[in-house]
């Protein structure tokens, strides 16, 4: 039974991936662009899920890291730095800044960390807007080129889409591996019971910082993909509202579930597009939907499915127990 479920699970993931791969066959360039946006935003959401869902730190700074990554790529481009290098630089820079910002995470916890990171997001926005010599100021940076990877041009929508999917897959694989390493197990221990984790000899300070910085680095990588996707960046895109949207992705998808951010990004990026048939009311419909979703499944979409699955399992177990106890009841009679 267990192995069968395992096979079915693998089959479904494969099916989802196949659907993503086959999407360009049915979708027009607009659909491809929106799906590419989904893939790029999912990278940042996966990062935030690591910080929040696994390490339990509420960060509202993720938009800044997306911005820092995007500006890194856009600013390095005129110097002829290859994309791969700029991409790595974006991740490393975000990691470093995340590490430094993470220090307050040790002093303050929970909602106070959210407030500090909220302030950080607005401060980074102000720097991006005001330091025109570096960032181009409010005008932003236009004509960002899409990269050519080993002779393969990603200029057209479909190749870029596959490129974005590839990067998302890469990031997903790294996070998958990380969570199964001793590091990842320490994250979870940290979230569940920091005091116990400490007493078990886990250096909570280092792990908290690492979780925060690694999540931030993924934000930077997402930004590094965002710049060539839109081919134009300007500071207002990386303000508080993006941070809140990313938080929404993680919570709505199901914080702490591995596939949560993928579903959450689907809701935040693609749902408003689906609702556009409602014309002027589409954002109202979207807001209502999120409200309803939170009311009926506060642990997120995957949390709801998790609950349902648990329910089914409990039912099955109690049915088994009943039939077994019935047999047990019968035994004394027959013996």
């Amino acid at each position: 039974m267990k192995t069968l479920l395992k096979y079915a699970q693998v089959a479904l993931v494969v099916l989802a991936i196949a659907a993503l791969l086959a999407a360009p066959l049915v979708l027009k360039p607009y659909g491809i662009f929106v799906l590419s946006q989904w893939a790029v935003m999912a990278i940042a959401a996966v990062g935030l899920n690591l910080t929040l869902g696994y390490a339990g730190q509420i960060s509202l700074a993720q938009a800044s890291f997306v911005g820092i990554g995007a500006y890194t790529v856009a600013l390095l481009q005129p110097f002829g730095v290859p994309f791969a290098l700029a991409f790595v630089a974006a991740g490393l820079l975000s990691f470093a800044i995340g590490w430094v910002l993470g220090y307050p995470a040790l002093r303050v916890q929970h909602h106070y960390l959210a407030f500090v990171t909220l302030a950080f997001t607005t401060l980074v926005f102000l720097v991006m807007r005001n330091e025109e010599w570096l960032t181009g100021g409010i005008y932003g940076i236009s004509n960002i080129k899409r990269p050519i990877i080993l002779g393969w041009s990603t200029v057209k929508p479909v190749p870029f889409y596959y490129f974005a999917l590839g990067m998302l897959a890469l990031v997903t694989a790294i996070v998958w591996w990380l969570l199964r390493s001793p590091w990842g197990r320490a994250f979870t221990a940290l979230r569940e019971n920091p005091i116990r984790a400490l007493s078990l000899g886990i250096d909570t300070r280092r792990y908290t910082l690492f979780a925060f910085a690694f999540g931030s680095a993924l934000g930077g990588l997402s930004g590094a993909m965002h710049a060539p996707l839109v081919q134009f960046i300007e500071p207002t895109s990386f303000g508080l509202s993006l941070s809140l949207t990313l938080l929404l992705m993680v919570i709505v998808g199901g914080s702490g579930y591995f596939l949560g951010p993928f579903v959450g990004a689907l809701v935040a990026v693609i749902m408003p597009e689906w609702l556009r048939f409602a014309d002027g009311l589409y954002l109202i419909a979207y807001a209502l939907l999120v409200l309803l979703l939170m009311t009926f499944c506060p642990s997120g979409i995957l949390g709801l499915f998790g609950r349902l699955a648990n329910l089914i399992e409990t039912r099955a177990a109690s049915a088994r127990r009943q039939s077994l106890s019935a047999k047990l009841d019968q035994k004394p009679v027959s013996s």
Partner: protein, 384 residues
Amino acid sequence: MPVKSIRQSLLLAGLVMVGFAGPALADGTVIIPDVIELSGAGAVSGTNWRDGAMMAVNEINAAGGILGKKIEMQHFDTQSNPGVSRAQVQKALDLEPYVILGPIFSGSVKVNMALSQAAEIPQIVGAEAAEITQAGNPYVFRTAFGQQFSMPKIANYVRDGIKAKTIAVLWVNNDFGKGGRDAFTKEMAKRDIKVVADVSTEQGQADFSADVVKIKAANPDAVFVYSNEEEDARFIKEARKQGLSMPMIGETTLLSQKVIDLAGEAANGVQGHVSLSADAPIPSIQAYAEKFKKTYGYGSDHNGIKGYTAVYLVKYITEKMGKFDSKLFAQTLHGLTVTPEQTPGILMEASWDANGDIDRASFLAEVINGKQKITKILPKLGSK
């Protein structure tokens, strides 16, 4: 755990399978999508533009359409966000449109004008940043002066009308305000007028006392105010409160009826240049403004006129060509002059140059007794 994961994967697969089908469109219509700011910071301008454009569409469709085809106009909200605007222009292009209207935000136009250029679809935009028409894109057209045209006019007025030697610039720190401030400052330098205070303000700022204190300390001969309507109004009120006595000069927005309504008496005495105005003493524009107010319950600003005239421009050119041809449309519009005699909906005579920049008459105005009063009509640049 395995069951949970299955549900997760199933959900993912299911959601992803659903496509993005556009609405099917009937024959006998011409598709003109309108990609515009309907939510976020640009919603005020975008709503005006949308309503102006729809008024024109309804008029034209009621009169039989363009060459017998009805206009099918859908509105695509950019949320005032460049990334979203790019997706929406892509969506509009997927409909295989004839012409695209909008957006207004310069940042958004910079993102997506390359897309319509690649698709060879003309894009009639509301943006005013100078660089948009200087990138050699043959498919982008303006509906109002670029800042490189409006700022010299207001600069001449500051030099010749006000005779100011020093000036303070108060601007809103977004791409509209910064663009205007940069273009204006350049024109001031050319005319040897010294900018003695350069005051950046925030979008949505409520308290302008610090800004007025700064300007007061610099004591310039005049103040140039370049912000959005509400902030303009709040600034004027604070300036009057603190007794700022030098003339306040503006470009289009500062003299709009909206600012006058919001600022009340404090707006009296404000003067400047108006590129395009629903208050212009031109019968066609006054008729337009009246009908707009009746239809939508609020007064049109210049963005309403931009949207309205853009649709009539499409009609005129198409009828001139005698067919629907996007590529030829762009070629025809370069170097063309359209007059109200040819098509009344254009409201005022206007010409487009080889870059897609527009030229038309504009006004010097002053606010007197709560009304915008046109003091002088400046002729088209080309007609000198």
